[in-house]
Amino acid sequence: MQKCGCAREAVEKYGDMLYRISLLILKNTADAEDAVQETFIKYFTKAPEFTDAEHEKAWLITVATNRCRDMLRYRSRHETESEEVLNTYAVEKSDSGILEALMELNDKYRIIMILFYVEQYKIDEIADITGVSVSAVKMRLSRGRKLLEEKYRKEYM
């Protein structure tokens, strides 16, 4: 399968998705932009032939997720308050609470939750993308969900 021929086509097709994932992980718009830009540059310079559209999407998400994890470890920018980050988007007040609660989770749980609930990946696919074992994905999903529920009920309802 041929990848997108031009930058505009690729960014229009995958930009929102990668930005959403990066922003929810990094909680900072400038860092999220960096992560997405590096992902696309890598896409145009190093990406292989993809077997299908799902393969291409998974490759991009893997690259972006890995980059975000690198950046979390070596973060230089200050983290922005999640409420402030979400204010710039058309997220309704009634929905922003759940996102704020998600962004307050530890990144180990947050990344798994984003891939499962937001990007709708299956557990074994998430294990492939993140490099974590299937049992660990299940565990973090289970705990992440409980943490999110508790936090959302206590602080945002």
Binding site: V11, N66, I98, D128, M139
Partner: protein, 672 residues
């Protein structure tokens, strides 16, 4: 919540100006840079690889566990290992080029981007320098000749003897070496075949080797022992593995913390156990680790993964015993796979854990749901003599049911008590009965001790055949529990904000009262004016006959910034039963307060009028006379009413002080 989360997240879109910046950055990539970068050979592996650099910047991290799964399964929609575009010594189907000097049977590891994964360490994040050393080690290691006696043996992911794996790619396919602890080596070569749009990874061949495992392991340990990359501890993982990935149980005395604990606390425990300084393993010279005595530990943590059950015992002198046993599929037999000992700072460990556990105040909603599962049938409350506490009034009965079902459960706390129930008397018992969907009886029985410890036991069954199901321990604020019960069984009026207890400040109309103490006495000591009429007293003011004084020690403050006067007879004492009915024990004259102050001038004024400057405080002893027959009757409350309006009817400015001895709840419930 799932849909809500997804719907909310989908509203996040990349701003247009950001898109334009990224598009421009991509369009500006220099084509010559692309070729150079391609020659360096970067590769992204979908199965969790971070950036893999060229042979000049050796691989950082690849998740071999996922990689192995991918290799075993072939190409999935997300599982393709992407090969880089540079020349490899491992070309075509011939691994060995006889015309080249190869340093290992598998090729020159310094010329390939490989990853190395140790299974039991669950770790693969080695530094570039370590990878360089590993490449040299693999090249120079004596892998021996091909092993002919494999007898169909294949590597199993959960094998007891699994040790590690080496994986790499080349132009034509992928390679995987698995190493087992008996020295058995399995080398699999996969070839990429098919058309571009229908690629598949086919197993080309498998070769086996048998190595000196001890020499291999020793070499590996020497290399990774010097690994400058982030250690497991620095990566936030314990020497026993990643507790955030385990479904572990933590037991401390009678307390058991497991997945039923609130998620926030459980996560906190996992993070603490991951980041705690366990130190290096120590030699168990005392032999305590061999057969640790059941009672010899302060904490016990256990978890299971892939039929390997791990145990961590922590004694209060800091000795730690870790062991792992692998069980057979039917869990009937097991063999020990690991045992280590540590010596930790127990005080730091205990304090750290307790700080987290202390935050776990109330039980989680999930646990409450479990305790209350089924349709509610009935509740019972008994006292320390096993006598049922049951109000006669239907309304109070309903309120009690509701409290025991909906209020009491949510008062239960998970905190570790200072003492267990031993040495403390039983105070109350609560039983809740439910009917499950399949018609079974589900009862929860709570024994509440004086110190607030609550022991619970769950029973399930049909008819009278109830079998014990689970048991647990909680704690409760016993004063709060009793206060809530009194509010249900007693007069609600006493639970309003208008009623104060002895010693509490009570303010009304700018006057602050504090009634510090109350005495019931026949002595008229200090009295200025003796009662007349109905109540007889002698020359000292001591009451004779069947009546007594109730004397209150009152501190009174003018809480305004103006001088004011107060008629001191604007307080009176009343008796009420548990229904809130006032006992008619007096006529209005005798209810008037008497001042025990030594200041006769008060008595010479109208209605004991007393002047207070702004902010002035005075202390008085105020007395009331009551017939003994009323003091002997069962009653709930004596109270002092502060009513400056002089009106007989209650109004919002009236305040009350609750005095007198409260009867037992059972006695109160039986009255009326």
């Amino acid at each position: 919540m799932d849909k809500k989360l997804r719907n909310a997240a989908e509203k996040i879109t990349m701003p247009e100006d950001m898109k334009e910046r990224i598009i421009k950055a991509c369009e500006n990539i220099d084509k010559t840079n692309i070729e150079r970068i391609d020659n360096d050979g970067y590769t992204e592996v979908v199965s969790g690889t971070e950036r893999i650099s060229s042979r000049n910047n050796i691989i950082r991290v690849v998740s071999a566990a996922a990689a192995c799964a991918v290799l075993a399964a072939g190409i999935g929609t997300t599982g393709v290992l992407l090969h880089k575009n540079h020349r490899s010594q491992l070309a075509d189907s011939d691994i060995v080029d006889s015309n080249e000097q190869l340093t290992s049977p598998f090729g020159d590891f310094t010329k390939v981007d490989f990853n190395f994964y140790l299974f039991d360490e669950n770790y693969d994040g080695f530094s570039d320098e370590t990878y360089a050393e590993l490449a040299d080690f693999f090249n120079s290691f004596d892998w021996g000749e091909e092993y002919e006696n494999a007898e169909g043996r294949e590597f199993q992911q959960d094998s007891l003897t699994r040790y590690g794996a080496i994986n790499w790619e080349d132009d034509k396919g992928k390679n995987s070496i698995t190493i087992e602890t008996d020295g058995f080596i399995s080398y699999k070569r996969y070839i990429l075949s098919g058309e571009t749009e229908n690629l598949s990874m086919d197993l080309a061949f498998t070769k086996y080797y048998m190595i000196d495992f001890e020499a291999f392991d020793k070499g590996i340990k020497e290399i990774i022992g010097n690994d400058g990359s982030e250690s497991a501890a620095e990566a936030g993982i314990s020497p026993f593995g990643d507790f955030t990935a385990f479904d572990f149980d933590l037991q401390s005395g009678v307390w058991n913390y497991n997945k039923r604990t609130s998620a926030a606390i459980y996560t906190g425990l996992a993070d603490f156990l991951n980041t705690f300084d366990w130190g290096e393993p120590v030699e168990d010279t005392s032999g305590r680790g061999d057969e640790i005595v059941v009672t010899d530990y302060a904490y016990n943590i256990s978890w299971e993964e892939n039929r390997v059950v791990s145990w961590l015992y922590i004694a209060d002198d800091g000795f730690v015993s870790y062991s792992a046993n692998k069980y057979s599929e039917d869990y009937l037999t097991s063999e020990e796979v690991e045992r280590r000992s540590y010596s930790i700072d127990y005080e730091a460990f205990d304090k750290g854990l307790q700080n987290i556990l202390a935050q776990d105040v109330y039980i989680s909603q999930e646990e409450a749901d479990r305790l209350l599962s089924g349709s509610f049938v009935l509740s019972e409350l008994t006292d320390s003599n096993n006598v049922r506490i049951e109000p006669d009034r239907a309304e109070a009965k309903e309120m009690l049911n509701e409290f025991l079902r909906d209020g009491f459960i949510y008062m239960l706390k998970r905190s570790v008590p200072d003492n267990a129930s031993e040495g403390y008397n039983l105070k109350y018992s609560v039983m809740l009965e439910f009917k499950t969907d399949d018609g079974q009886r589900h009862t929860e029985n709570f024994t509440i001790y004086e110190n607030g410890v609550v022991s619970s036991s769950e029973y399930m069954g049909t008819g009278n055949d109830l079998l014990p199901y689970t048991a647990d321990n909680y704690s409760i604020n016993i004063e709060e529990f009793e206060s809530r019960l009194r509010g249900i069984l007693g007069d609600d009026e006493f639970n309003t904000g208008n009623t104060a207890e002895l010693g509490e400040r009570c303010e009304t109309d700018g006057w602050e009262y504090v009634i510090k103490s109350v005495d019931v006495t026949k002595s008229g000591d200090g009295m200025d004016v003796f009662p007349e009429g109905h109540y007889a007293c002698d020359e000292n003011g001591d009451l004779i006959g069947d009546s007594s004084y109730i004397i209150a020690d009152i501190a009174l403050t003018n809480n305004t910034d103006t001088d004011r006067s107060l008629y001191m007879n604007s307080t009176r004492v009343d008796l009420y039963n548990y229904n809130g009915d006032e006992l008619d024990f007096k006529n209005s004259m005798e209810a008037t307060a008497y001042i025990f102050n030594g200041d006769r001038s008060v008595y010479e004024a109208d209605y004991f009028k007393t002047d207070f400057k702004a902010g002035e405080s005075r202390t008085f002893r105020v007395g009331y006379v009551i017939d003994d027959e009323y003091l002997d009757k069962s009653f709930d409350t004596i109270r002092i009413e502060i009513n400056h309006s002089g009106m007989a009817e209650a109004n919002e400015n009236i305040r009350y002080y609750r005095l007198g001895e409260k009867k037992s709840l059972n006695d109160i419930a039986k009255q009326g």
